[in-house]
Amino acid sequence: MTGALSAREGTAADAVAGVVPRVVHTPSTRTECAEIFRATSAQGVAIAPMGGATERDLGAPPRRLDAVVSSLGLNRILEYAPPDQVVQVEAGVTLAALQDALAKEGQRLAIDPPDAARTTIGGLLATNAFGPLRTRYGSLRDVLIGISIVRADGSVARGGGKVVKNVAGFDLPKLMVGALGTLGMIEAATFRLHPVPETQTTMRARGLTAAQVRAIVAEMRERRLEPAAVVALGEGGAWDLFVRFEGFAAGVRQQRDRFAEAAGEVPCAADELSADDARLHRVRHDASRTSGSTCFKISALPAAFAWLAAEVLPPLEGVLEGASGVFYPTLGLGFLTGDAGDAGDAAITATIARARAALAPSRGSLVVQRCPLAMHATLDVWGPPPPAFPLMKRLKERFDPGGRLNPGRFVGGL
């Protein structure tokens, strides 16, 4: 047995959506990682790739699971070219470690989900994680320029490249974003970076109705403001809106003042957060996203926010205890978290089904990102498969003919 295959026994702490693996491999090089896949290919060993395990319960319980392959040993920054604003990293590097290295050069990866200290680059990509900065900079698909994956048979395939502009070959990088390790294990990725802004400020408007939130967003657009982040935090139908402006001092000052004008039109009062309060806001944002046993990710048309808040959210809040919402109103995306209450799994499942039906006409969706494991028995966390599902199934069969990569965990049992 080679060193690459050395593994420890899996324990309950290693479970993936409640399923405990027989073994856990932690390769320390990419070569070893590929070797694990190659050596276990013939036996069809079922593998779940794993990073910082912040989303270990995302998705349905795998149909079978023999081994977890951890990326935590793959923790090198492979190439960083500050003048080109490009970085290539191994999958196990945590987001916080990467941002620290980039900050030394005045740069950053413009992706800011909660829990950066634990979240790894591979996990980030596999789950399509994002935070408030998506408002301005887009999601991982917009900043990922290259990828390297280990395929089910242990071969290594790369797509994209190391330059920000490149259309050679199929876009494997985008295919891997959000694919939850069902097409291959991400071993390294290359990103385009952004400069850390000279300055930033966060404006706040409190106690708004959803219609007022929408009105401020429309006023900002009318004034052609370019916020870096727009976040609405809400409990029980009242929303606090936080709008961050970034850039050079003169521009940030002007946008701040014009935001106050925009709020005045609604009308509502707005104030500027102190640096300490801006940090507290970030803590509250992250806590809202990560607390509670249950988390619904909701996607709708951005302009439908008032409708969403009036029609779709209240019944969902009704089945959660201590429900708390984090919405990104310019994107139409948000999260509702809380503890699954006493409503009963059947009632929760029915409520979710009604919300999905309401969202479906505009291709909106509700994904249960997190829930008590027992709920999986009655609940499809992904919801009805999308229209292109047959194509997705064929793709999965081509990439993973033996069905050994996270089998059954993804949309429609892929």
């Binding site: 330059v163 052609r224 291709r363 498969p385 292109a388």
Partner: protein, 483 residues
């Protein structure tokens, strides 16, 4: 099926006048913007609707006839070059804007809509569509989706892929598939992201949901001249390093400036290099960044910095840049356009190496390109009438691409691989990389009927579909199960 039967069946679908088989009329379609490759298709079909596309594809699929999609035919990599015996499927009649949703800043269009017409439809309301290939007044959205087209302003705003939210496509089987949609993050694989830039090898796009942007409050433009591309390259690096994200920075070298002057009558000076730069955004931000950028440009050794007096002069400056490819026709009977990408910090070095390669080949190379993202457009000038010169020009073009890959770059930044650069894919990608891409392709098009011969250096056979379970007869009879 014999050709006459095929013509009759296709005519029944799209109407006889939209099924072109006369040799004299097929000539128009035997190449795209890359005129050095020419193949006549078996027929050209111009459907009007998704239903018609699906019916044509189903028929072609049943009879194993390859299909090559074509938009406006402005592509520069031979992506719309007909395959021998193919049906060339033109989307020029599918040009309706289906829906404009300004509240959500989206627009749904058919593939034959012209790029610039998308922006024109929403200009009055203060919106625009960001990707701006130089051919934007004639090229179609369907073609842009196929090529993942860029343009000067994608440095700040991204490429077509960043502005497409959803698609409808028809597969080689005739099946219609909906991908993505107006809401974000539809669960499942990001097949929208995969189809954008797939160069018509996965299916025919019949509908596109685009993201619109609010027109920036202000734009500031300047034109700076330099003794050589060395100083101009340094200026680009300094601007980027300062944290400014320009909307566009374009560079032209001496030869390109001469050509642009000849074509537009602009009074640009005779200098070694020039930069044309836009910054846009909220007004105070833009005032600050344009002042800083001008200071950096002067520090890097600019000879002069000129700012347009008004919108008309600004438009003229950009016209000089955008017409540069065609303008090269004024100083050379023929030219090859390359589209390699390099890390932007290496611009000055790579341009010197290109000059050395050109001198060795005894040819001239003009450079006009997107400096901010390192996307070079070397124009290899030659005279096709001079014996051996075309071959030397093609060899030089290939050397330049290999040079880009050696510097860690790409063989194509926005024009696509097409027929033109398929032979260079192996410079960038290993056999294993290409195999993964081949697997993806097989999931969409098992029969290799969609735009065959493009992107990949060698055709890839899909073989049996894996993972498909064939039940044992006893199982079917209910005698045994799978447990």
């Amino acid at each position: 099926m014999n050709p006459r039967e095929l013509t009759s069946e296709i005519s029944a679908i799209v109407g006889a006048k939209n099924c072109i088989v006369e040799a004299s009329e097929l000539g128009t379609y035997e190449c795209d913007g890359l005129t050095s490759f020419r193949v006549a298709p078996q027929m050209v079909v111009l459907p009007k609707s998704e239903d018609e596309v699906a019916a044509v594809m189903r028929l072609a699929g049943e009879h194993g006839i390859p299909v090559v999609p074509r938009g406006a035919g402005t592509g520069l990599s031979g992506g719309a070059l007909p395959a021998p015996g193919c049906i060339l499927l033109g989307t020029s009649r599918m040009k309706r804007i289906l829906d404009v949703d300004l509240e959500n800043a989206t627009m749904r269009v058919e593939p034959g809509v012209i790029n610039l017409d998308v922006s024109r439809a929403v200009t009055a309301a203060g919106f625009y569509y960001a990707p701006d290939p130089s051919s934007q007044s004639v090229c179609t959205i369907g073609g842009n989706v196929a090529e993942n087209s860029g343009g000067a302003h994608c440095l700040k705003y991204g490429f077509t892929a960043n502005h497409v939210l959803g698609l409808r496509i028809v597969l080689a089987t005739g099946d219609v598939v909906e991908l993505g949609g107006p809401s974000l993050d539809l669960p499942g694989y990001d097949l929208t992201g995969v189809v954008v830039g797939s160069e018509g090898t996965l299916g025919v796009v019949t509908e596109v949901t685009l993201r619109l942007l609010r027109t920036p409050e202000a734009t500031r433009t300047f034109f700076a001249t330099f003794p050589s591309t060395d100083e101009a390259g340094d200026a680009v690096s300094a601007i980027i390093a300062s944290g400014i994200v320009p909307a566009a920075i374009e560079m032209m070298d001496r030869l390109a400036i001469v050509a642009a002057k000849a074509a537009t009558g602009l009074d640009w000076p005779d200098v070694g290099a020039a930069l044309l730069m836009d910054v846009d955004g909220p007004i105070a931000e833009v005032e600050h960044t344009s002042e800083s950028a001008v200071a950096l440009v002067r520090k890097a050794g600019a000879l002069a910095v000129r700012r347009p007096a008004d919108d008309a002069e600004r438009a003229l400056m950009w016209k000089g840049r955008k017409s540069a490819f065609a303008a090269v026709g004024r100083i050379s009977p023929s030219y090859i356009v390359q589209d390699g990408v390099i890390p932007r910090s290496e611009i000055a070095k790579v341009l010197r190496e290109i000059a050395a390669l050109a001198a060795k080949a005894g040819l001239r190379v003009a450079n006009v390109f997107h400096a901010g993202d390192g996307n070079l457009h070397p124009l290899v000038l030659y005279d096709a009438r001079a014996p051996g010169e075309e071959e030397r020009a093609e060899a030089l073009g290939g050397e330049i691409l290999k040079l880009c890959v050696r510097y860690g770059g790409s063989i194509t930044g926005e024009h696509g691989v097409g027929k033109d650069k398929a032979q260079y894919m192996g410079e960038m990608f290993s056999e294993s990389d290409l195999d993964a891409m081949g697997k993806l392709r097989c999931a969409f098009d098992e029969g290799n009927l969609m735009n065959p011969g493009k992107v990949f250096p060698t055709p890839r056979l899909c073989g049996d579909r894996p993972g498909v379970y064939h039940p044992h007869p006893t199982e079917l009879a209910g005698v045994a199960g799978r447990g």
